[in-house]
């Protein structure tokens, strides 16, 4: 039986108490919400926090508020979002992403905040301690080399969140609270450049909520590539948002994920799309440009060359789905 290492456990009732505890416990404390990412990691000894601060009693971080904009409590379960009829109607791309996460059982436990903060993944890393010892460990945990790219100075563990590219595409912001106060950042600014420092969230901060602006007439889709229809993390994913002016693109956002340590905003493709109709030619070229930003390596399921090809196909299909 894979077992957890020992830890101290706190279950405060408010976000402020969480922030106070985090400040008091220092960097060896970690937040746990659903536990579906952290507990497996702890069982594999990726993380061995001395203290766990659970959000399970922090009810103020739950709930969905909708007016023109949408606010999600970070501690809301994925399942609650999946079963939120109005959310599905309003933000179908987000619903698709949330509904595609792992399995119904895991979505009953995992939270949206947890999916945003999902540890980067790599099949040199997501192994138990003895396995990692057999490869002399890796840069992300206890070692020095990234075996995915041995000459690399950065870690290539993959951002495998389904919801993150959608939040970026929708222009969402994340609010972080610490004992020093609150700050709100654009979704993209949450993510660091490498698989180790993959979050800009400080260790003393807790993600409290997500705000998604009114989408107006813009429509979005999310497409995910994986081996099986459940369990699997994406090995390539694309979130696309397009606002049309007549049949022409007024504004768009294309975001790739699971093709590198950080979500990729496809600026070149977005600039290309501006003012153009979503013709076969245009979507094909935009997908080609978007695909340039994908740097899949051999550290997930499926061959990296195949992922590189397929991310273009899926980007094109995403754009096709957004035609008027």
């Amino acid at each position: 039986m894979m077992r957890l290492p020992p830890f101290r456990y706190h279950a405060p009732r408010t976000a402020a108490e969480v922030a106070t505890l985090l400040a008091g416990e220092g960097p060896e404390a970690m937040i746990v919400a659903g536990g579906t990412d952290l507990y497996p990691n702890m069982k594999r000894r990726h993380q061995m926090p001395k203290t766990l601060i659970s959000l399970r009693h922090v009810d103020e971080l739950r709930g969905v508020q909708m007016n023109g904009a949408v606010r999600l409590g970070a501690n809301e379960t994925l399942r609650a979002l999946e079963w939120h009829g109005a959310l599905k109607e309003r933000l179908p791309a987000l619903w698709t992403a949330v509904q595609s996460i792992s399995t119904p059982l895991l979505r009953n436990m995992g939270t949206i905040g947890g999916n945003i903060c999902l540890d980067t993944r790599c099949n040199y890393y997501n192994q138990n301690w003895e396995w990692r010892r057999a490869i002399d460990f890796c840069m992300k945990c206890e070692g020095t080399v990234c075996w995915t790219a041995p000459s690399s100075s950065i870690c290539w563990a993959v951002n495998s969140s389904d919801s993150v590219p959608v939040f970026i595409a929708l222009g969402a912001t994340f609010t972080l609270v610490s004992h020093e106060g609150e700050r709100t950042i654009p979704a993209l600014a949450m993510f660091g450049e490498d698989g180790i420092e993959y979050l800009t969230k400080r260790k003393d901060e807790v993600l409290t909520h997500i705000d998604i602006p009114d989408q107006g007439t813009a429509r979005s889709v999310y497409r995910k590539v994986r081996r099986r229809g459940a369990f699997d993390f994406p090995v390539a994913a694309v979130a696309a948002r397009v606002a049309l002016d007549g049949d022409r693109v007024a504004d768009s956002t294309l975001v790739l994920n699971a093709v590198g340590p950080k979500p990729v905003v496809c600026e070149e493709a977005m600039a290309y799309l501006a003012g153009k109709p979503l013709s076969d030619e245009v979507v094909t070229e935009a997908a080609r440009l978007a695909g340039r930003g994908a740097k899949p390596l051999d550290n997930t399921d499926h061959l990296s060359m195949w992922r590189k090809k397929v991310v273009q196909v899926e980007t094109r299909r995403a754009l096709e789905a957004l035609r008027p």
Binding site: Y124, F231, H302
Partner: protein
């Protein structure tokens, strides 16, 4: 039922007459005898067991692929509070292994480790956490050796051999045999096809991780309860390594939470907990982690194959030359048998007049391969069925018609001297062709959609036991009590396939009692007659015969007494609905309990035994031990796929499968086995593979439930199952196997369907999207291995076929028949 020279007694004739009038139980679908326990959580699997004072065991495993052990320092582990015992290989120097010819494993490695995951030191502690911690404090000093990870390198013998036995260097086994004149057959052919294909290894992935609990009884005897499919072979291995007489060792197989062949070797951890229990005089349990289950492995061998076949214009074969190179992993396991099996059953489906087989198995520094559902035969079956599809296209024939024209006749003897009994492959093909609308679909669906057909056959148990002996393969005791209860004892092990239910149903059919009145004691070497185990699809046929014989003998005793009491000729007695009565005057009878009392008063306690030994095979040459079976099952399947033209992703939309099971004992369980086989085959066809990081010391790339891809509900298409019942003279009630055969057509059927959908050949399993895409972009519209290495065959055994006037022997007599490997 069975042919026998002895004249039938009136009592036995009465049973024959009764069965001829119709079955009460056979072919119906009563619920499994263990079903309610399973759905209520009462079934105790091995890890569910616990005992007072029980210790927990963890094993330190090698983190290097190949090395000499220089020293082991366990002092820090021993000093940890809560650690009760630390065990190294030195305490168990006697080797073991499933096959007599491959006694190459040690419970803990003695001097060398041979793959990442090989067991080195074991700890028993008061709890699992302490044992976890203790193994981390053990220091093992290794001198690394150069590992080898693939058989095409291993066969060159440039590394230090993994073992000091085998055919040469890292070649564990080399086989070559020819039946008839293959070169002449090719010369006579209108079309000769040569294909090189690869089947990647994969594993069983039972949901239950292996677990074992051992303790020393107060009288000094040893007992182990374990998740094993083969308690009898574990019993032998434990007795050997622990140097205890078998009579003092008791092995109880727990219900297996899935086996599929993965729990049919005696395992190091089983012997380790037994040794620790003897050392500490406390119960010791081990429950493996999922990762460790991947290191137990014994799954499908990766096999590189070259097949050359001559065809006539009508699609019939003139001859075949099949070559296979098996990647064996670090130990022998069943590997010698696996090697023979990659060449054995090509001949039993279609007529192959001349046949040559060359096979080589190499050792590599990876977890050992062994028997997984289909043992050694899915790989060659894939190659053969895909090549037939290519032949049909080349000859302008419908692949279904080609197969129907070349079927091996029922009751015939194959080129390699296998005795075919009942043979329902023709009706199987006809059924799936009709149900799937094959004639309107094959070659006619729009781009991206396609159908593929493939067939298979499998043994219903191996004709010879794993170790040479002349004793029965299965024994059953039936004991009747005055209350009407029937106690049945048999060494068989239920691994989910329903063998307990088959045992009870056979006895109930003969004695005419309710299933609820039958009490089973199974899989316990202390109390039950030997049954060799749940492998090679042998249980229904072999245990079924033994159970029938035991029940028939008990019935005979009862019938004799009841006939006297009722003053009715014994031949007229019928046993049904818990009564014994005169068939001509059903009112004249008595309840079954009363019948037992009458008989017991006359004869004393009624306890009868039955047993079964398979018939001798016509093949007498060296190597003829692998392939013979009392009966062969047959399957055919049509798979319909939708291939994404841009990504190469293959979605299976529907499957039609027909299986010739001879006669269903429990129809619901038979269909369950077909569906389960289809599922597992689909996983192999599309996504499952064992892969290793040769860049990082040969670690298993993905030893987890998440990354070893087992199909979920989303990947499983609707399946239409058809049972073909062509009762086999060698089967109990005519029954043949169903546990393994229906898996086999899936892989070739998917590959053939992909060809129909997008016009490319993926000559490799699994058929993954990147391979489909690469094939679509390739000039020759093919993805697969390009070359096949020289197997360095120096001597080929030549055997005349029956058509050539042969007698089943090779010209030179076998050298050492008794040491030879006999079966799977």
């Amino acid at each position: 039922m069975r042919n026998s020279d002895e004249p039938l007694s009136p009592e036995r004739q009465g049973l024959r007459d009764q069965l001829a009038e119709g079955y009460q139980m056979i072919g119906k679908s009563p619920i499994k005898v263990d079903a309610m326990a399973k759905v209520t959580g009462q079934t105790m699997f091995a890890d569910d067991l616990s005992m007072p004072r029980m210790l927990h065991c963890k094993i330190l495993r090698s983190h290097v692929a190949y090395a000499r052990i220089l020293s082991i320092d366990t002092s820090a582990a021993e000093a940890l509070p809560g650690v009760i015992a630390v065990l190294t290989g030195a305490a168990m120097p006697i080797p073991f292994g499933i096959l007599p010819v491959s006694q190459d494993e040690h419970a803990l490695c003695l001097d060398r480790v041979r793959f990442v995951g090989d067991p080195v030191v074991a700890v028993a502690a008061v709890d699992e956490e302490t044992a976890f911690e203790a193994i981390q404090r053990i220091h093992v000093e290794y001198e690394k050796l150069e590992p080898v990870f693939d058989p095409t390198t291993a066969i060159e013998n440039k590394q230090e051999p993994l073992h000091d036995y085998g055919d040469d260097g890292n070649v564990h086994k080399r086989v070559s045999m020819e039946f008839g004149e293959v070169e002449e057959a090719f010369a006579a052919a209108d079309l000769v096809l040569e294909d090189t294909m690869f089947f990647e290894g994969n594993t069983h992935l039972p949901m239950e991780q292996h677990a074992s609990l051992a303790w020393r009884e107060a009288d000094g005897r040893l007992t182990i309860q374990s998740s094993t499919q083969t308690p009898h072979y574990l019993h032998k291995a434990m007795s050997k390594v622990l140097e205890m007489p078998p009579s003092r060792v008791r092995v109880i197989a727990c219900p297996n939470g899935g086996g599929f062949g993965g729990k049919s070797d005696p395992f190091n951890h089983e012997i380790v907990v037994a040794k620790l229990a003897l050392m500490t005089n406390r119960p010791v349990k081990i429950a493996l982690t999922r990762e460790e289950v991947f290191y137990c492995h014994r799954g499908r061998h990766p096999v590189l194959m070259h097949v050359k076949t001559g065809f006539r214009k009508d699609g019939s074969m003139t001859g075949m030359h099949f070559q296979s190179l098996l990647d064996g992993g670090g130990y022998g396991s069943y590997g010698v048998a696996s090697t023979y099996y990659t060449g054995a059953l090509q001949t039993v489906t279609y007529k192959v007049p001349a046949y040559r087989f060359d096979g080589v198995r190499c050792f590599t520094n990876k977890p050992p391969c062994g028997p997984k559902r289909g043992h050694g035969t899915p790989q060659p079956r894939f190659a053969l069925e895909v090549q037939l599809d290519k032949a049909a296209v080349a000859l302008g024939l419908d692949p279904a018609d080609l197969r129907l024209r070349t079927l091996h006749p029922a009751g015939g003897i194959t080129a390699n001297w296998l005795q075919v009994g009942s043979m329902g492959l023709g009706p199987c093909i006809e059924k799936v062709v009709e149900a799937s609308g094959w004639k309107d679909k094959w070659g006619k669906l729009p781009a991206g959609k396609g159908v593929g057909l493939a067939c298979s056959s499998y043994i219903s148990g191996a004709g010879l036991p794993i170790y040479w002996n002349a004793m029965p393969h299965s024994g059953v005791t039936v004991q009747l009590d005055r209350g009407g209860g029937v106690a049945v004892f048999c060494g068989e092990t239920d691994i989910g396939q329903g063998s307990d239910t088959v045992l009870a149903m056979v006895v109930a059919e003969v004695l005419g009692v309710d299933l609820a009145d039958i009490r089973l004691t199974v899989a316990d070497t202390h109390t039950t007659p030997v049954d060799l185990g749940s492998y090679s699809s042998r249980v229904t046929v072999m245990m079924g015969h033994a159970a029938f014989q035991a029940a028939e003998r008990a019935r005979e005793v009862v019938a004799r007494s009841v006939a006297k009491r009722l003053e009715v000729p014994a031949v007229r007695l019928r046993f049904a609905e818990n009564r014994v009565f005169d068939v001509q005057d059903p009112e004249n009878g008595m309840p079954f309990p009363k019948a037992v009392q009458v008989a017991e008063a006359e004869h004393g306690t009624i306890a009868m035994a039955g047993s079964y030994t398979p018939p001798a095979s016509p093949g007498k040459y060296r190597g003829a031990g692998v392939g013979p079976s009392p009966a062969y099952s047959y399957s055919a399947a049509v798979v319909q796929v939708d291939v994404d033209l841009e990504t190469g992703v293959v979605a299976v939309e529907k499957i039609w499968v027909a299986h010739d099971v001879g006669q269903s004992i429990n129809e619901m369980l038979v269909i369950g086995q077909v569906e389960g086989g289809v599922y597992m085959g689909l996983g192999e066809a599309l996504m499952e593979e064992m892969s290793y990081r040769s860049n990082r010391f040969g670690v298993h790339k993905i030893p987890s439930m998440l990354e070893y891809k087992s199909p979920t509900t989303h990947e499983m298409p609707p399946v239409e199952t058809f049972l073909i019942e062509s009762p086999d003279p060698n089967g109990p009630f005519g029954a043949k196997e169903v546990g393994q055969g229906p898996l086999l057509p899936m892989m070739p059927a998917v590959a053939n369907a992909v060809f129909d959908a997008v016009g490319v050949r993926v000559d490799e399993v699994p058929v993954t999207p990147d391979k489909v895409l690469k094939a679509m972009q390739a000039k020759d519209k093919r993805y697969g291995p390009k070359s096949f290495p020289d197997l360095r065959i120096t001597e080929t055994m030549r055997v005349k076929t029956l058509e050539q006037g042969g007698d089943g022997t090779a010209p030179r007599p076998p050298r050492a028949e008794k040491q030879e490997v006999k079966s799977s």
